[in-house]
C-alpha cells in the first residue's frame, strides 16, 4: 500500500467510526482520490454475519461494473479496495449493495446500501496539474499526438500594366508540408518541422509595371521579377504560455532566386487551434516579404469549423507595395483524424486591381 492510499484508508476508517444503523451499512464516502493510488473503502456493517456487502465500481463513462466484496479488517471494520490501476482521471463512480441469504435457500436479493447503479456516487481522481492539463489537451486532440499537414494556395493580386501596354502578373503560389508532434512537456507543447515552396511573378516595381517596359520587354528582368524560393525548410516550437495561450516561434532557411536566406514566423494565439481562437501572426522571409495577420476561428457550426483572416502582406517580393488579403477558411474534420480544408479570398494592393485567392489543405492526426 502506498503512503497516499494508507493515508486515505486511515481517513476513511476514522470517518467511518460512528455508530452503525440498526440493519444497515455505514460508510463515509471519500470525496476525491489520487491517480494511481488504490482506494480503500471502509464500512461498518451492522449484521455482518448475515449478509455480504459488495462494492460495484467503474471508471466514469464506462458501462460495465467491477464487483469487489467487503472483507473484515482489524478493528471490526469492513474494507473493499479499488486497485491502483483503476484509479484514473477523471474519476470513478460506485455504489454498495448487500445480499442476505434467503431462509429457503433461494438466491439472495441484492439491496442498495449506498447510492445505486442508476445513481452511483462519484469519486474525483486527481493528478498533478501538468498531468491533468496533458489529459485535457489529449482529450481535445482525440488522444492523437502527431499531425501531418499539407496545404496549397494560389494568390493573385491581379494583372498589372503600364501606359505602354506592358502586362505583368502579380501572383504566387505556396506549398506547405509539415509534421508536428505534440510533446505536451509544458511549456513546450509542440514541435514542428516543415517544408515550404513559394514562387511567384510580379512587376519589378512597387505598384505598376515600370514605365519603360513595353510588350516586347515585359518578360525581361527589368520588368518582371521571378520571386520566391523553391526550397524552404523550417523548424517551429509551440510554447504554451498558459492553457489556451500559445506562442509558435519558427526559424526558416530558404534558398531563394539568388542566395541562401533566413526567415522567421511568430504566432500568438488564444483559444483552441482547431476550434474557437483568435491569433495574431507575423512572418518574415528575406527578399520574399512580410506577412502580418489576424485570424478569428470559430467552431460553432457543427462539424465545420471556420476562420476569417485579415492579412497585410507584400509577398511574394519585398519590392512590391503592401496589400491586404481577406481570407475565409472552412474545414471538415473526419473521425478518422483526417481534416480537409478549403480557402477562398481576395487579394489587392490597391482598390483598383485585385484578384482571388484559393487553397486546399489536408491534415491527418495520428
Amino acid at each position: 500500500m502506498t503512503s497516499s492510499s494508507l493515508t486515505l484508508a486511515l481517513v476513511a476508517v476514522a470517518l467511518a467510526a460512528g455508530p452503525v444503523a440498526a440493519d444497515g451499512v455505514r460508510h463515509v464516502p471519500p470525496a476525491e482520490a489520487e491517480a494511481g493510488a488504490p482506494i480503500e473503502l471502509v464500512a461498518s456493517i451492522a449484521d455482518a454475519g448475515h449478509k455480504d456487502v459488495v462494492l460495484h465500481y467503474r471508471a466514469r463513462g464506462a458501462v460495465a461494473w467491477v464487483d469487489v466484496a467487503f472483507t473484515q479488517a482489524a478493528g471490526g471494520q469492513w474494507v473493499a479496495a479499488i486497485p491502483a490501476a483503476a484509479v484514473l482521471p477523471p474519476g470513478l463512480e460506485y455504489y454498495l449493495q448487500s445480499a442476505a441469504a434467503a431462509a429457503d435457500g433461494a438466491a439472495p436479493a441484492a439491496i442498495d446500501e449506498f447510492a445505486s447503479a442508476a445513481d452511483p456516487h462519484p469519486i474525483v481522481v486527481r493528478t498533478g496539474d501538468k498531468d491533468a492539463r496533458r489529459l485535457r489537451d489529449l482529450g481535445r486532440t482525440g488522444g492523437r499526438r502527431s499531425r501531418a499537414h499539407a496545404a496549397f494556395e494560389w494568390v493573385d493580386f491581379g494583372q498589372r500594366d503600364n501606359a505602354a501596354g506592358a502586362v505583368v502578373p502579380d501572383r504566387y503560389y505556396r506549398i506547405d508540408l509539415d509534421f508536428a508532434y505534440r510533446l505536451l512537456a509544458y511549456p513546450l507543447e509542440e514541435i514542428r518541422f516543415g517544408y515550404t515552396r513559394l514562387e511567384g511573378i510580379v512587376p519589378n516595381s512597387d505598384r505598376r509595371v515600370p514605365a519603360d517596359c513595353t510588350p516586347a520587354t515585359e518578360g525581361s528582368a527589368a520588368c518582371r521579377v521571378d520571386a520566391g524560393f523553391k526550397v524552404g525548410g523550417w523548424f517551429e516550437l509551440g510554447l504554451a504560455l498558459a492553457e489556451g495561450v500559445r506562442f509558435d516561434g519558427r526559424g526558416m532557411f530558404t534558398a531563394n532566386q539568388e542566395s541562401f536566406a533566413l526567415g522567421a514566423r511568430g504566432e500568438l494565439r488564444a483559444g483552441i487551434a482547431d476550434g474557437n481562437h483568435l491569433a495574431v501572426a507575423v512572418e518574415y522571409m528575406a527578399d520574399v516579404g512580410t506577412i502580418g495577420s489576424f485570424r478569428l476561428g470559430w467552431a460553432t457550426v457543427p462539424k465545420v469549423p471556420m476562420a476569417m483572416t485579415v492579412e497585410i502582406t507584400d509577398l511574394p517580393s519585398s519590392v512590391r507595395a503592401t496589400g491586404v488579403r481577406l481570407l475565409y477558411d472552412a474545414y471538415y474534420p473526419l473521425p478518422t483524424g483526417l481534416r480537409l480544408g478549403a480557402r477562398l479570398g481576395y487579394a489587392a494592393r490597391d482598390q483598383i486591381i485585385g484578384g482571388p485567392s484559393a487553397g486546399l489543405s489536408a491534415s491527418y492526426d495520428f
Partner: protein, 535 residues
C-alpha cells in the same frame, strides 16, 4: 402556546353554535414598537381594559400547495399584557422573548366582554349536495399535511414540510412545497436572526469527507452520513462562491435512511473557492448547522478557469452580420447655375461589410473580425463637378479586427470599451485606420454608446448611438453622426434609424433609413439593409 389560547378557539366554536353573549375577539394591528412595549390600535373605545391579555400573530402570504391559489395565513407569535389604554390605542407589555420578535404591522387580537346583546348569527348556508371531488393519494397526502400545519408555529411547519419534501423529492408538488418552504425559512430567519447558532437540543450533525479542490464550472457531488438518523427529518446544503454574501440552498436527498446526497451547483463553483455548510432539521422542528456553519463554512479551493475554457463554448457564442448601406448627401440639393441648369454636386458613398463576432466570458467580452468594401464620390458641399473637374472617387477594401472589453465596474450599468484596427487598400494603396466605442449598458440590450473612427483615404466618423428593444422581437437603433466621409471632405451630419425584426431566434433582418447633410441646401437621404445571424 396554542393550548393557552384554546379557550379562545372554544369560544369561537361556542359562538358559532349558540351565541348567548356579545363577547368578541377584536383584531387590530401593532402600530408602534418600543424597547419594552408595543402599541396596538385597539383602545377603550372598543372595550379593551388594563390587564387584558392580547395575542400577536404574524401575517404570511403563502400559496396553496395544490391549487397554488394565494393564501393569507398567520403565525402565532406570543402574548402580552395590556399596560395602559387610551381611547384609540393600547400599550402592551411584552415578555423578554418577544421584545425583538413583534414588529409593526403584526396582528393583535384580544378577547373583550360586552354587555349588549349579541347580533343574530348569519344564516347557515344551504347544504352542498355536490359530490366531494376525489383526488389521488399524493394530492390527498399534501392536502392533509397542509391542513395539519395551518396555524402552527413556524418551526413546526418547516419541520413537517421539510420531512415531506425529503421523502417526496420527485412529487409533482415538490416545487410548490419548496417555494413555500423558502418563504417560511425567510420568515423564520427574520424572526430569529441567530437561527444557525442557537443551542441544539438534539445531536443532528453529519459526517462528511470534504473535497479539497474542484474544477470551476462543474457540479461537485457530496455525500453526508447522519450521526443519528432517527432525529433528523430533513437537511439542506447552503452554498456560496467565496466572497459572496449570500448562500443558496440546495435540498439534500435522503437515501437508505442514513445518507444525504446533493451537489454544489456548477454555477457557484468558481474561483477562488466555494463555501458550504449543512443545516439539518430535527424531529422537534429545530434547525441548525450540522456540518460547518454559515460563519465558518467548509471551503473547497477552485482554480480560476484556464484561458482555453473561455473558448470552449460553442452555443450562442457566434454572430454573423452582413450589412450594406448607401448615403447620399445631395438628394435635395437642387441649386442651379445662373442659366437655370442643374449642377453636378454629387456627394455619396456606399459601404458593405461582413463580420463574425465570437463572444467570450470575462473581461474580454467578444472578438470580431470582418471584411468590407467602401466606395464613394464627392464629399464637398459647395463643389460643382465638371468634365474638367470630376468628382473625386474614393474606394477602400479592408479587413478589421476588434476586441470589446467589459470594464470591471461593480455598480451601475455595464461599461464596455471596444477597439478596432482596420487595414485595407484604397486608390492610393495601403492604408490603415482605428476605431473605438464606449458603451453604457449591455450590448444586446438597451445601451448608449459613443464611437469614433478614422481611416486613411476614407475619413473620420463619430457617432452617438442608442440601441434598445421596445418589443421583444424588434430592436431599434437611433444614431447621430458627424463625418467627413467620403474622402476627407466637408463635415456633415447623419441621422439614422435602424429597425430590426427577429424572425427566428437565430436570424434578424434589419433596415436603415437616414438623412444626412453638410449644409441646409446640401442634404439627402440614405438607406440600408442587413442580416444578423446568431447561433
Amino acid at each position: 402556546m396554542i393550548a393557552r389560547w384554546g379557550w379562545a378557539a372554544a369560544l369561537v366554536v361556542a359562538l358559532g353554535v349558540a351565541p348567548v353573549a356579545a363577547d368578541v375577539v377584536l383584531a387590530g394591528r401593532v402600530v408602534k414598537t418600543d424597547r419594552r412595549e408595543v402599541y396596538v390600535n385597539l383602545g377603550e373605545g372598543v372595550g379593551v381594559e388594563v390587564g387584558g391579555r392580547i395575542r400577536f400573530k404574524r401575517p404570511i402570504a403563502l400559496r396553496h400547495p395544490v391549487t397554488r391559489a394565494a393564501v393569507n395565513d398567520w403565525l402565532p407569535l406570543g402574548e402580552g399584557t395590556v399596560a395602559a389604554v387610551g381611547n384609540q390605542l393600547a400599550r402592551i407589555e411584552l415578555p423578554p422573548e418577544l421584545l425583538t420578535t413583534i414588529k409593526a404591522g403584526d396582528l393583535a387580537e384580544i378577547y373583550v366582554e360586552r354587555a349588549e346583546a349579541a347580533p343574530p348569527p348569519p344564516p347557515k348556508p344551504a347544504p352542498d349536495d355536490r359530490p366531494i371531488p376525489t383526488v389521488d393519494a399524493e394530492t390527498a397526502q399534501v392536502l392533509q399535511v397542509w391542513r395539519a400545519t395551518t396555524g402552527k408555529p413556524i418551526d413546526e411547519r418547516i419541520g413537517v414540510w421539510s420531512g415531506w419534501l425529503a421523502s417526496h423529492a420527485t412529487s409533482p408538488y415538490a416545487e410548490a412545497v419548496r417555494a413555500d418552504l423558502e418563504v417560511l425559512r425567510a420568515t423564520a430567519l427574520a424572526m430569529t436572526p441567530d437561527l444557525p447558532g442557537r443551542p441544539r437540543a438534539l445531536d443532528l450533525h453529519v459526517e462528511h469527507a470534504a473535497p479539497k479542490r474542484a474544477l470551476a464550472g462543474a457540479d461537485v457531488p457530496l455525500a453526508f452520513v447522519l450521526a443519528d438518523p432517527a432525529q433528523v427529518v430533513a437537511a439542506s446544503l447552503h452554498v456560496r462562491t467565496r466572497g459572496q454574501p449570500v448562500y443558496e440552498r440546495v435540498e439534500l436527498v435522503r437515501e437508505h435512511d442514513i445518507y444525504l446526497r446533493g451537489a454544489l451547483p456548477a454555477a457557484l463553483v468558481a474561483a477562488p473557492g466555494v463555501e458550504y455548510f449543512v443545516e439539518t432539521i430535527g424531529a422537534d422542528g429545530s434547525a441548525g448547522a450540522a456540518y460547518a456553519s454559515d460563519a465558518a463554512p467548509a471551503t473547497i479551493e477552485v482554480d480560476a478557469p484556464a484561458v482555453v475554457e473561455r473558448f470552449t463554448a460553442t452555443r450562442q457564442r457566434t454572430r454573423l452580420t452582413i450589412i450594406g448601406s448607401y448615403l447620399d448627401f445631395a438628394t435635395f440639393d437642387d441649386r442651379k447655375d445662373s442659366a437655370g441648369n442643374t449642377l453636378d454636386r454629387r456627394d455619396r458613398f456606399a459601404e458593405t461589410q461582413i463580420d463574425v463576432l465570437y463572444r467570450l466570458a470575462g473581461v474580454v467580452q467578444g472578438v470580431r473580425l470582418g471584411f468590407g468594401a467602401y466606395g464613394g464620390r464627392g464629399g464637398f458641399s459647395e463643389a460643382v463637378w465638371t468634365d474638367a473637374q470630376p468628382a473625386p472617387v474614393i474606394g477602400f477594401q479592408y479587413g478589421f479586427v476588434e476586441a470589446e472589453l467589459r470594464l470591471p465596474i461593480d455598480r451601475g450599468p455595464a461599461l464596455g470599451l471596444a477597439g478596432r484596427f482596420v487595414a485595407g487598400v484604397g486608390r492610393e494603396g495601403f492604408g490603415v485606420g482605428v476605431a473605438g466605442r464606449l458603451r453604457l449598458g449591455e450590448p444586446d440590450a438597451t445601451n448608449l454608446s459613443v464611437g469614433v473612427s478614422g481611416v486613411q483615404q476614407v475619413g473620420f466618423l463619430s457617432d452617438l448611438l442608442l440601441e434598445t428593444w421596445p418589443l421583444p422581437k424588434v430592436p431599434v437603433g437611433l444614431s447621430v453622426a458627424v463625418t467627413d466621409q467620403p474622402g476627407n471632405g466637408d463635415l456633415g451630419v447623419r441621422l439614422a434609424a435602424d429597425l430590426g425584426y427577429r424572425l427566428r431566434p437565430w436570424v434578424r433582418p434589419t433596415v436603415r433609413v437616414s438623412w444626412q447633410g453638410r449644409t441646409a441646401a446640401h442634404a439627402g437621404v440614405g438607406g440600408g439593409l442587413g442580416l444578423v445571424f446568431d447561433w
